[in-house]
Amino acid sequence: MSLGLTKTKTNGVPAASNGSSIIHMDAIRKVYDTGKVKVEALKGIDLAIGNGEFVAIVGPSGSGKSTLMNLIGCLDTPTDGRYELAGEHVSDLTRDQLADIRNRRVGFIFQNFNLLPHISASENVEMPMLFGGLPVRERRERARTLLEAVGLGDRTEHKPTELSGGQMQRVAIARALAMEPAILLADEPTGNLDSSSGGDIMTLFNDLWNQGRTLVIITHDQALATRASRIVEIHDGRITRDERQ
């Protein structure tokens, strides 16, 4: 599958401040305070991910990899430590500022797709552009281009419920690409798919990587992990292995 997409920056993403790294984490800690019990999910993570890397984050359940993913995607803020995303400090931003960062810098791909069920594939892809304030004509065109690129050019007006799992995930990928994010973040993207659709999605990720995009994928899927250029293993809130292959 070839993606006829060229990376055109819709907004001026500044170059990363420290060399070519997009993600720069320094002694990141995350503590969940449930009142009685304090759970330290991340116990000091140092992680730098460079431009164009394809990183698979692996680890058992409860190891803290989802927490790490939420922090990377600015869905959550760290308790402690410094985090720079594409040259911006995001450790102490307001909710609305974080929303803007998520909108412009990060493309999310979830295990359960998280598409809005009542609107069409095209409208789902338009959603981030809507929040980003793009004019309607541009949104439409871009949504169509993106859906064509993921092989769903003939499904733009279908609702998610009328699509298969693999197709839904491709809509989600198109949506993730909508704002030309600095980084694509996928949480178990093949977890809800059969092996054939999962394979298609993996191929799609490979294509995206080959186009020079930065991918961070959290996965249990050994097959997907082996495609990555780098594997980071997390255990009990700490990085226990970090290998390039």
Partner: protein, 406 residues
């Protein structure tokens, strides 16, 4: 902003059942309360109209027998009032707007081959005004010239007109009253009248009192009609009237039987009180309906927000700001409220429009007030807004991750 409306429109279309239920709740509440108050208002108006059919806050007086001795005269003496007594009272009574004598008797009327026994009253021009006798198009009531020249003119009730002339025009026709020709100058415009003291106005004939006296030789009035100045206590006027009459007729001003009154203003007071309690009752029912409707709408809103928490989470993950989520929600509520209120108002008006004619005489024509509909819909809207606002804010304050997993 256009985008927000587009989103709202899309969400409302995609959630047809939910939108329908919310709109329905507001429609239901608006219709219930609008109709309730419409019927209340209609009934009030009709009661006033019916009562005013007899007269506009008038006092009717009858001379009778004295019940107490006075200045050496024994009790049981008949009091007779003449036109001079009425003129005297007109000058002497405080707070009196108008007064008219009324002479009446049953007389024979002949028109063509028809002969009828009709109640005929001799009255003065102000009588028509006081008793709400409005002439139908093309006619008039007795006037001052009629009085001055003892003209043989007559104003007849609409029923009598039908009996005598059928569908033909009555104005200008001559009828024989006790053998004398009278010209019809006016026909009563149909009116509601729920009480009377000597037959309904629609079957009566009114002639100038001067003519009446000349025709019959009658010297004494049967009764008189007085109207207090608006806002004056009718009791004071009655006492003053009785005092004025008693001076000339030499009876005790305390003697309630020598001159008895029917105070129709009492009835108006009673109606006002009655309608006040009735409206209070309607108001309480209305409030209860509003509360029930409000609970319904707020329930739906609550469910809506719960249902949409995941959606809100997804939108936030994609970069929606809290404000944009809340704005969408608020606009949605306003649109739903507006549509619901408008439909409810339309339904209420339609129901009132098809209200059976026959029932109007008893309960009146229901009248929907746009203000009531607006207030009701807004009240329900506010309930929905408040009920939905807090959960929605809660949801938009959640971490996107948490909201998405719900």
């Amino acid at each position: 902003m256009k985008d927000v409306f587009r989103q709202v429109g899309r969400d409302m279309r995609s959630q047809k059942l939910r939108t329908f239920l919310t709109v329905f709740g507001i429609v239901w509440g608006t219709v219930a309360i609008s109709l309730l108050l419409a019927f209340g208002t209609g009934m009030h108006k009709q009661m006033i109209k019916n009562t005013a059919g007899l007269g506009d806050r008038i006092i009717i007086g009858w001379p009778g027998l004295t019940s107490m001795p006075y200045e050496g005269l024994g009790k049981g003496r008949r009091i007779r009032l003449s036109e001079e007594d009425i003129d005297h009272a007109r000058l002497e009574t405080k707070g009196l707007r108008a007064i008219s004598s009324e002479y009446s008797n049953n007389m024979r009327i002949v028109y063509g081959t028809k002969t009828m026994a009709v109640d005929i009253s001799g009255v003065s021009p102000v009588f028509g005004e006081m008793r709400n006798m409005i002439p139908d198009w093309g006619g008039r009531f007795i006037n001052d010239l009629d009085m001055e020249h003892n003209r043989r003119t007559a104003f007849i009730g609409n029923q009598l007109k039908k009996d005598l002339f059928g569908e033909d025009d009555a104005i200008g026709k001559l009828v024989l009253v006790n053998g004398s020709p009278f010209q019809i100058v006016g026909v009563l415009k149909e009116k509601s009248q729920d009480s009377s003291y000597s037959g309904r106005d629609h079957s009566k004939m009114m002639i100038p009192s001067t003519t009446y006296r000349a025709l019959t030789g009658e010297k004494y009035v049967d009764n008189f009609i007085a109207q207090p100045v608006r806002g004056t206590d009718s009791k004071i006027v009655m006492d003053s009237l009785r005092a004025a009459m008693s001076e000339r007729q030499r009876f005790s001003p305390e003697d309630k039987e020598a001159l008895s009154f029917w105070d129709t203003t009492e009835q108006f007071k009673f109606f006002d009180l009655f309608m006040l309690s009735f409206n209070t009752f309607l108001g309480i029912i209305g409030c209860l309906t509003l509360i029930v409707g409000g609970i319904g709408v707020s329930n739906i809103m609550n469910v809506v927000v719960e249902e949409r928490t995941r959606e809100i989470g997804i939108k936030m993950a994609l970069g929606a700001r809290q404000k944009s989520i809340m704005t969408q929600f608020l606009i949605e509520t306003m649109i739903v409220t507006g549509i619901g209120g408008a439909i409810g108002f339309a339904i209420s008006i339609t129901i009132c429009a098809f209200f059976p004619e026959q029932a109007v005489e008893f309960v009146g024509m229901p009248r929907v007030s746009p203000l009531v509909a607006l207030l009701t819909a807004s009240a329900l809207g506010i309930v929905g807004l408040v009920a939905g606002y807090f959960p929605a804010r809660e949801a938009s304050r959640l971490d996107p991750v948490v909201a998405m997993k719900l």
